[in-house]
Symmetry: D2
Subunit: 349 residues, 4 copies
């Protein structure tokens, strides 16, 4: 299959390009960037030096659609909503990494992001968490990939939320994220002397990802779920750990909880349940998943409250963005969904 990346100069774009260049079944046929048009990919993504001679080109709907079966969109929120319709009309399949088509409710979208220009498409896109929507993704023309923080939160919380065993009004999701999540745009807040050594509560209420987390968890629960979501910046480049605190309303043993997770995720190839008795990586840690498409999930049962603490770790740029997107393409194409996504990460790093 032929794949293109529109808006490929950012960090997610860079990882997408890297994954597609090494994907054994995909051919990277088109890479666009307004700012860097005419330049080599490696001028922005130094790890691609000597790997490819592809250059950025300008976005043009006809050229892109001629060259591609799948188009990955990496443009900012609100830019995406106007490009998606014209791409869909050409018949290409679109995998959008912006937030523009994640939210089914126009009202909720507009609360968090402002006016939507193409609300008619909201219902047609599939939310691209493959572990929850695989069958829909197979048939989709438009997949809207989840936010990185949302991915870790939803994947961690969904199994227990689906059981009704936890208090659905008191779910606290406390996330810690690396600096690459702010993208390639720099500012004082990402200036190294200011960004090193922080635990910065950068968005502890009203984070936009709340919308998609609640949408997906409500669907899983079969009723409305609200989450208390807070995000913190920590001193690392890649990775997210979401700590999900849930209060038990039914009695559950560790074994019960294990069964819930195992049953929920079955053979999902990129979910690893991590709960070891010994060692220093007994529970999920972004350190172990950086560079990979895995989401590691584990938990501890706190009989004191009683409470379950779920830990969910992933690489924000891969399972939280580009890798998830490629996984969706694989599913849409009907090939093994792990194709091109098996890099196991580096240890230590």
């Amino acid at each position: 299959m032929r794949a293109g990346v529109v808006g490929a100069s950012g960090y997610t774009g860079g990882d997408l390009v890297r994954l597609l260049l090494f994907h054994p079944k995909a051919e990277l046929t088109c890479v666009t960037s307004r700012q860097f048009s005419g330049k080599y990919l490696s001028s922005v993504h130094p790890n691609l030096r000597g790997i490819t001679q592809i250059k950025f080109e300008e976005y043009d709907v006809n050229r892109v659609s001629d060259k591609c079966d799948y188009v990955f969109l990496n443009v900012p929120h609100r830019a995406s909503m106007n490009i998606v319709p014209e791409l869909l009309q050409t018949g290409v399949k679109v995998i959008d990494l912006s937030a523009d088509f994640r939210i089914k409710s126009q009202e909720v979208y507009e609360y968090y992001y402002g006016k939507h220009e193409h609300p008619e498409l909201l219902g047609k896109s599939v939310y691209g968490i493959s572990e929850l929507h695989k069958e829909e993704i197979k048939k989709a023309n438009l997949v809207s990939c989840p936010g990185c923080l949302a991915s870790s939160a939803i994947l961690g919380a969904a199994p227990l939320v689906s059981t009704g065993a936890v208090d659905l009004n008191r779910i606290v999701i406390d996330s810690k994220v690396g600096s690459s999540a702010s993208g390639r745009e720099f500012s004082l807040s990402t200036h190294h002397p200011e960004r090193a050594n922080v635990v910065r509560p950068y968005k502890v209420t009203n984070h936009r990802h709340t919308a998609e987390i609640e949408q997906e968890l409500s669907a899983v629960a079969g009723k409305s779920v609200k989450v208390a979501f807070s995000a913190h910046a920590v001193d690392m480049v890649r990775g997210i750990l979401s700590t999900i605190h849930m209060f038990l309303e039914k009695e559950l043993t560790e074994k019960d909880i294990w069964s819930i997770f195992r049953e929920f995720y079955g053979d999902e190839p990129f979910i690893r349940l991590v709960k070891q008795k010994t060692g220093i990586y007994r529970l999920p840690d972004p350190k172990v998943v950086v560079g990979t498409n895995y989401c590691d999930i584990g938990f501890e049962l706190d009989e004191h409250m009683p409470r379950i603490v779920v830990l969910s770790a992933l690489d924000n740029l891969i399972k939280g963005a580009s890798g998830q997107a490629v996984q969706c393409m694989n599913i849409m194409e009907g090939i093994d969904e792990t194709t091109g996504l098996t890099f196991p990460g580096l240890h230590p790093y």
Copy 2:
């Protein structure tokens, strides 16, 4: 006043020695370490090179009590409980940095730490958070300084807990802490290649500090409080951020919450309320308090749940240990409690 530090080879001991050497009213008369007896302080604490010629000596109750008016105890839990009684008998005032005399309830102590050899002293020690127990500290012979994570949690949560406006059964405290909190003892888990780049959920349930947090918050609330406390290791050396998620049971505006904090802490010299509208340090961040005796506290009101998120940041080795201990000594001695504790920290670092 003459001060001594028993067990001064660790990180807290190092900071205590540093603070006392530069304290304008204290004289550091005695520094003990079994392991390093006979060696210069700077052999263990390299920042003291050229600053002092003091050497570590062996601990001996008579020598220590002869030389000191105040003794700071930095020995491990369970070692402290046998040294405190003999020191108290000599008439010196003891400021204990172990957990042995923090918990008033023998049962609770023993649940978390094992058998107590001197339960008769549990009721006589004063819990050394000066913002809560200043009057008692003034008259105390034995002050038991709080744990570093407990300090940040209690100082952040106490004001709202005292009002009864939040759900006292659903307080989630999610703490992030630097590597110095594990002390000077090394292991695979603190080995740099393994400890760098982590967000490691090292104690997400059943943390021992739960005992003192619940003791102090229950006292403030006037009824039993249970907390859902979880601690994570992040990639920095010093500092703690505690994110305290509390669900509102009464309606409170931002202004109300401000008033609660202001009234609760009044003129406390080491509590700074931080809630700015602009800038990159709008809320507390350990980056800003490292090196200081400040605890920065701020909050956001989440009308969506409704929830209050309190952020509490301090330097685990200073306000969370040595600085708090010196502050207690100042209070016991009746001098300005900020004496020797005014270093404002470095920015950036």
Copy 3:
């Protein structure tokens, strides 16, 4: 081909195992570790969770040689020298990652490492820098892989040293290396609070790698070369930058130097010449090669002295160890030397 790793619990062993598991032409048939025998690889190498069910076994010369065509040896210096002979006798090909067979001169070896038990093999091993010894490696039964610092130094210095244009008595090699280079053994010096934020001159004179650097550069120069080599620990996990200061004895332009490098390395697939006019990665930086088998090399000409500063960057665990070793195996086997080694690294990380 069937490959085994003896002594696979360390960081280099972990990377070797990872590379072999994903190598399309190799089968990992045997992994030994005395300490972890019977345990899953993932108990030590957390990135291999869910990737393999292989367990560590005890080393036994017969079992290992029955199962393997190639044996990678990752045991400490001085342990290797006694295992190599017995393995060679079974007919397997040995790729040794210790220092025991790197040095051709018994006298030099013994100056740096102590008595050699099998000096008769010193002349039979091939020094495994594939860019310098490819033809010999093809025919070798025993390849001795270079040290990580030596790799970066030799690859960076060799082209100019070969020309005779620089003062061979005044070559300064100033290297900066991450914490993974000290291996999995922990100590106070690698304890995170002590190892973070350092620029620690840990071996600024008399580093053992001096021996192999001088051996190889002397061979390239055709006469005796001495180097002023110093190594520093910096705050990162993986990676080495060697800054090689050489004083010009003949006049050379930038273009001349380019030609020297281009000619020296020709089409070597893992050497990238990096010297851009713009961008923030104009010269080699370990950040860009971590995770890869590349050695990036660049230079600046300082007309002021005149001096050439060569920069050489690689991942100490890959091109400086495991990747170089796999590259040697590929060459010995006669397959494309890049097989299994094409991962381009992550950016940013």
Copy 4:
């Protein structure tokens, strides 16, 4: 004495303000910033929250000179050269932290920095390394503080250069510096995801500080000295380590070298000679001096070449800038030069 800081919004300005606020003999009477005029110091320097209510004001030569006895200038190179003359005319003493008056030779200045508008003042300023120019500083009206990298290089190299025992044409100075050295101005190169995990050769030839290093070392040597100077950015915020490689031309023992350093620096209060036989901080490391005004200097003798490797560590913002400047003020004022500069740093940090 009354002190003012012109251009106080940067990192050096922040440290100057901090030092002056806590200086027992100085009164901070005036702090200017064009960009932040009217705002609290703490809006830019978050560590000053609750410490001072001083606000930035606009620079005005009359107001500044009315309020101050000493003016510290922290404006960019080439801006300083026009402000210094008007300030000097008012009779205040000026301590300039820019490069504009560091270089005695107009020609050399202009080679590195461009045209000088007030060359007549070049000869009147005193180069503010107090260990070399104390007597002149006492009498100076204009002190020009050295660059941070230059400080570490000069202080480390001067003693041996003064003896004539080393090859003055082959001095290699390889420096490693933290991100705060690039100041508060942000760019892609200081963006955390790009700046973390680097060893970036950002200026390996033709660094401007070469001019002042050579000027000062030539003065010390009594003849022309050229240095091969290269600077690298490493992943830390504060600190510099300069590794100075010098080739011996006379035979010197370790003891001889010790004597040279001891004699050269005598009782200098901020020079610590560091060369321990044991421990993990046997040689200078910026980790140990961050936050302080110390320059730690040590060495190793390499009999192999023979070569001396001198290590020189300091905090770029303090001994490399603001602390050195305050030390000059103390000397100019005739008070103990350590006044206000005794903070011993934090360990660990």
